[in-house]
């Protein structure tokens, strides 16, 4: 049986028919065509499917689309400003070489966006704890940690 649901994705209400077993990650990617959200492990370990649900980071691979009917969701496609200018977190990742292949990056960007909204000036330990649920096979994390601190600076300058 299919269910008709509405998701407010990156500020736009999207109606979609999905079977109950549709994961939010697959709903975003296949039903809504938002392939920025990546899928790695599908059991909550790698973090690359992380999106913001009502502003809080969650695993879209461990969430059914039907469960979040009516909710507001932000994906990596929604992080840049409406004029297309990259967000502070996105610019910091680019500037500090916080990515190589980019597969893990959407999850990191969403996680870090929420982390800095909660804690605008995190310590090194807080950054490491905050991103501990996201795996990156390329960068060795050092530049990601740098990017988080840089993003904190950029945010402070801009507000």
């Amino acid at each position: 049986m299919e269910h008709e649901i509405t998701l407010v994705v990156n500020g736009t209400a999207r109606r979609v028919r999905v079977p109950a077993r549709r994961l939010l990650s697959d709903c975003l990617r296949h039903d809504l065509g938002l392939t920025g959200t990546h899928v790695g492990c599908e059991h909550g370990v790698c973090g690359c499917c992380t999106v913001l649900l009502e502003g809080r980071p969650v695993r879209s691979c461990l969430t059914f689309a039907v469960t979040v009917d009516g909710a507001e969701i932000t994906t990596v496609e929604g992080l840049a400003g409406s004029d297309g200018r990259l967000s502070a977190v996105q610019r910091a990742f680019a500037e500090c070489h916080g990515l190589q292949c980019g597969f893990c990056t959407p999850g990191f960007l969403c996680t870090v966006t929420a982390l800095l909204a909660d804690n605008p000036v995190p310590t090194d330990d807080e950054v490491i704890e905050g991103i501990s649920g996201n795996l990156c096979r390329c960068t060795g994390y050092q530049n990601i940690v740098k990017a988080v601190h840089r993003a904190a600076e950029l945010r402070a300058e801009e507000t």
């Binding site: 109950a20 077993r21 994961l23 697959d26 909550g44 980071p57 969650v58 461990l62 059914f64």
Partner: protein
């Protein structure tokens, strides 16, 4: 890695949720942080899922001098932020990653009853309980029962809940006056389930005498509770001997992550650390 099909129910109130559970052979979906991985890996294939995320009134937690009652929809992260119980707060920081804790529920962790999970050990060491509800079809109403921790954890991934029962809340008793608590664990990677862990509560009496209780994770079919009783003056208590008793009470198994002997060794080391840390905190709380 996709969940098998199931029939979906999204009740709006507790009565409807309980009636559905009484009628169909279903599983409860709370935060989904354990259930959805199991569905994705096809380790579970329930015919019906009863999603309780829209049920009103299950999200609230209540703090009284006696302890904290956590509602079924209270997420790990919310309970952690509320910081209403020092041992519970400390244990929550060890559960998975912050992002998982935004969805996972405290009560879901208890019902899931993973032998390596932190929260069952906390409930067990404190002597807490889980409140279960089911629909009484003959009487036409809900029936509640309070299941003490020692009866709740039946075996690995098995709680005492019946298939038609919903856990509506869990009660974590407050630490007695003059108490300290600690949770020590070792895991292979940050946020993983622990290879072994020990939580301890040490209560220092007005006369300076220490009493201790410990619960171990990852080294038995469920939380292994050891009541160490009275251990003499807190400053001179034999924590090493007490830790050895905790170690002897466990019967760890071997798996790909660690041998049984290594787990047993870890329990001894972690028990001593947890007991000493809890004792220090207890002594400070008592002003001894």
């Amino acid at each position: 890695m996709k969940p098998p099909p199931f029939e979906y129910h999204a009740p709006r109130d507790l009565g409807a949720a309980l009636r559905t559970l009484a009628e169909v052979d279903g599983k409860v979906l709370a935060g989904g942080q354990s259930l959805i991985p199991m569905l994705n890996m096809r380790l579970a294939a329930p015919a019906h899922l009863v999603d309780i995320n829209r049920v009103g009134g299950l999200g609230a937690s209540e703090v009284t001098p006696e302890g904290v009652r956590v509602g079924a929809l209270a997420r790990h992260a919310e309970v952690e932020r509320a910081a209403a119980h020092p041992l519970l707060t400390r244990a929550l920081k060890l559960v998975a990653h912050p992002v998982i804790r935004n969805r996972g529920t405290v009560v879901g962790s208890l019902v899931h009853a993973d032998p390596a999970a932190e929260l069952p050990a906390v409930l067990a060491v404190l002597g807490g309980s889980v409140r279960a509800a089911r629909w009484d079809t003959a009487g036409g109403g809900p029936v509640l029962r309070e299941v003490p921790a020692e009866e709740f954890f039946v075996g690995p991934m098995e709680s005492a809940l019946g298939p038609d029962e919903l856990a509506v809340s869990a009660f974590f008793p407050a630490l007695p006056e003059g108490s300290g608590a600690a949770f020590e664990e070792v895991s292979r990677r940050h946020g993983d389930y622990a290879l072994a862990g020990v939580c301890a509560v040490v209560t220092v009496g007005a006369d300076g005498a220490a009493r201790a209780r410990a619960a171990c994770v990852g080294v038995g079919a469920g939380p292994v509770v050891v009541d160490l009783g009275e251990l003499g003056p807190v400053r001179r208590a034999g924590w090493k001997a007490a830790a050895a008793l905790v170690r002897e009470a466990t019967d760890p198994e071997e798996d790909i992550h660690a041998t049984a002997a290594y787990r047993r060794h870890l329990v001894g080391v972690l028990a001593e650390r947890a007991l000493r840390n809890a004792a220090r905190e207890g002594a400070a709380a008592r002003g001894a």
